[in-house]
Symmetry: C2
Subunit: 106 residues, 2 copies
DNA sequence: AGGCTATTTCGACGATCGTTGAAATAGCCT
DNA sequence: AGGCTATTTCAACGATCGTCGAAATAGCCT
């Protein structure tokens, strides 16, 4: 995980609408959610949702799988995991802090 | 931590320059770093840095303390901690994943 | 007070974002 | 083939961003 990639993912999550989309997907778990359901749940224009979804997919945070005419969206857990890892990564290289208590600097 | 706040913080970290600033501060640890040193390290205009720093401070990710004429900047670890917590929070409410293995849903 | 250094504020610029409705496309079903 | 639903692409818009240099301010020191 380089800094450019991390910044792109953070930027992708840094929009309220997109963060909501992402969280909804996270909650939905492995079964995922069709674009249409997502749209209903969030109450935004289909084109807007499609746009945001596209960005989320570009950064690797979300994946899609076709099932007939509907597209199932899923949160990409490992991607988030490694993003969080990056955030905590260099934490406290020479100072104590609450987060990395011995695992980050190991 | 609400979604608006989280989005603001993620957006703040979602700019390569700002993420670099933040990470530099994280590495610097509790002793922090003066604005000037930060500027030298990153090689950007002072006004640009000041602007980014301001955004980071507004979201609560960074704090400043005055020491005579120089301003010491510090990463706010607890803030990052709670942001990461938010990200992992609702993870896998009804599906298994690698990240939250029993702590998030507790 | 006067000067000096550190930092911020101001003003500007092109670039990107976020949103939408309308139109185009994808893929099923009869 | 023809129609139907799901989703994306297009075109557009005002709004915000990221960057900079120049000018203003903050606070110390003599």
């Amino acid at each position: 995980m380089n800094i450019e990639q991390a910044a792109k993912q953070l930027e992708a999550l840094g929009n309220p609408t997109r963060l909501q989309v992402y969280r909804t997907l996270v909650r939905a778990g492995d079964s995922g959610l069709p674009v249409g359901s997502l749209q209903e749940k969030l109450g935004i224009a289909a084109s807007t949702l499609s746009h945001h979804l596209h960005r989320l997919i570009l950064t690797g945070l979300v994946t899609q799988e076709r099932q007939a005419t509907t597209l199932i969206c899923r949160a990409n857990y490992p991607a988030m995991d490694s993003l969080v890892g990056f955030l905590v990564d260099e934490c406290c290289v020479d100072a104590p802090c609450a987060v990395g208590e011995g695992e980050a600097a190991a």
